[in-house]
Symmetry: C2
Subunit: 372 residues, 2 copies
């Protein structure tokens, strides 16, 4: 018949289009509205050049059809996906679970979604690093110490901004963290003021800057105050590691045993306390224990841990804002930045209180004001 009249030579596609009628597209809206696709696009984006009536009509049509823009197609044109890669640290530490929750919430508030690249201990796999490019991630939020330098290099090469939270940036990228040093100093001051002299530090994973800063800050403060160097006990990043450290401490002869312990993370401190108590020691009677992070679980019985609470929400918010600024600014426009936020001292029942009823007054460590 009219062979010239059969340009749609892809019946399969046509069928697909029919089946796809479930999903409204700009083209389908344009057809129903009797206007061009570009007009629909502009109307939906509130372009001032489109007349109010047309805009309203298209908006109504879109709402009726349940139209939702396809971000993937948009990304192809605009180059921005709205996706933020998340590399999450060891989730056996509840701190990261809390961080996760904030990150999801705050990212959503900024119109972004999180692409979960990695969770847990260990370095991220190569395939995962590829995903970062494949999905055109706009930026990357990292809370793991294990971001391989290869992955970092790939981000750098592709202008993917990188922001570390609770970690310092090793190669490139900005970082947001709690003022670990100041927090550790405040705790050291607290313990010294309470009369403790034989101190110990349960360290974290050697690879994490956070743990190192805390341990160093604590020791240096003690040294500056003229105290003896604290006993260093190897810890880790889990309750089990803290427990093991606590067992070793409890096994020391009473004369050598420290009377106050700073564990560089709350989850560690919980393990330490459990080990001490299992060994028959009381906390804070025989030994004071303090931690740092401010996880919810440590604030409850039977720990009621004295700690420095990280301003988690603010940290995540600032991290996201830095990331978005880096994304906006294009290339390496935004200079790499390091943000330090003050933590808030939370007094629990896991350590002896200073004899003075005025806590911390006169201490070298300034009293920490409420975070922010």
């Amino acid at each position: 018949m009219d062979d010239a009249d059969t340009p749609p030579r892809r019946p399969a596609r046509a069928a697909g289009a029919r089946a796809g009628s479930g999903r409204a597209t700009i083209a389908s809206l344009a057809q129903r509205a009797g206007v061009a696709a570009s007009t629909v696009s502009r109307a939906l984006r509130d372009d001032a050049r489109i007349s109010p009536e047309v805009r309203a009509r298209i908006a109504a049509l879109a709402a009726e059809a349940g139209y939702t823009p396809d971000i993937l197609a948009r990304t192809l044109v605009l180059g921005r996906s709205g996706l933020i890669g998340l590399v999450l640290g060891p989730v056996e530490n509840p701190f990261y679970a809390e961080l996760l929750q904030q990150a999801v919430r705050l990212a959503a508030a900024r119109g972004c979604r999180l692409l979960l690249l990695h969770a847990g201990p260990g370095p991220i796999e190569d395939a995962t690093t590829e995903a970062l490019l494949q999905y055109r991630v706009d930026g990357c939020l990292v809370t793991s110490a294990e971001l391989s330098s290869k992955a970092a290099a790939i981000c750098a090469a592709n202008n993917v901004p990188l922001v570390m939270i609770n970690r310092v940036a090793r190669e490139h990228g900005s970082a947001v963290s709690c003022d670990n040093r100041a927090g550790a100093e405040a705790l050291a001051g607290l313990l010294l003021q309470a009369g403790h002299r034989r101190l110990a530090v349960v360290t974290g994973n050697a690879a994490t800057s956070t743990g190192r800063e805390r341990a160093e800050g604590f020791c240096q403060f003690v040294a500056a105050a003229g105290g003896d160097l604290p006993l260093l006990v190897t810890g880790g990043a889990s309750h089990a590691a803290g427990f093991a450290a606590g067992q070793r401490i409890a096994a020391l002869p009473a004369a050598e045993r420290p009377d106050a312990i700073f564990a560089v993370a709350d989850i560690l401190a919980m393990g330490v306390i459990d080990a001490l108590r299992e060994a028959g020691l009381t906390v804070p009677g025989d030994v004071s224990v303090v931690g740092m992070d401010g996880i919810a679980l440590a604030d409850r019985p039977p720990y009621r841990l004295t700690t420095v609470v990280q301003p988690l929400e603010v940290m995540v918010a600032r991290g996201l804002d830095l990331l978005l600024a880096g994304i906006e600014g294009g290339a390496g426009a935004a200079p790499q930045e390091r943000v330090l936020l003050r933590g808030r001292l939370r007094l629990g029942a896991s350590c002896r209180l200073p004899e003075s009823s005025l806590p911390l007054i006169g201490s070298t460590a300034q009293a920490l004001p409420a975070a922010e």
Copy 2:
């Protein structure tokens, strides 16, 4: 000058292409290889029709240029994004943190990435539901009880397969969970055999099927065994909720106080134990406490909780496989399925052991074999 010779009328684009030289595309590879883009595409996908030499040459070129396909562009054509939406339950329960870790790992092993839609308590926001469509999520993994029926309807309307893990499907979608009833029965049998007669159940969030099933399974088993109806104590999904329940129980006059407690989640059981001990009661001396989930923290001192361990890894793996099957099968091809996996009883030190040295023999609850 030669106006006719200026077809590239988009200098901005051209500049963008130059800047984008950092990213290799099929087109750029094709140009360098001196072949058509389609040839490159086929060569990289190992299409048999491309000659081995060309294929090798292009593969070498791609590797050299660090080419990575743009999944977003591919999605536009193929309709599959490789993205799986994740709606995560209350992460204050470490169980979900462990689940998260498994989900990321196993999804990556299957070539999928997780788009984090929601984490934490509360229902998911409408904007989040939209993201599900906007990013063309292939399927959705849900561990929250709070997936709004609206969100479920949207998934159904758009043929997005839905799989619940640790939850039953309310409206549509498949579900993978532990055999909560069988697990609870095993625990009930254990407690009865240990001679306990005054039992209590600390319940979960009323909205979660998991908690209900466990409580019901426990009570019905006890009733069938001729025991008194357990005391029901309102719990929740957190350590705090368990603690509050424990306090209420501890406050009962000794004559009315249960001598064994089943908390429907480990995190709850931990709270219960802490409250009992704070009230001066010993566990398991005065009261036996058992939980269910198998979280790592509960297996450690000072809890050493007797519990039923959920086969988490298998659960997530099966969930993902169901999801992928649903994605493969297209529309609602795959029938909705409910998978129940047996948990594994883990004997801790939080409850009295049966007098008989042969545990559970002759009990109505069959001994639970190792999961799967």
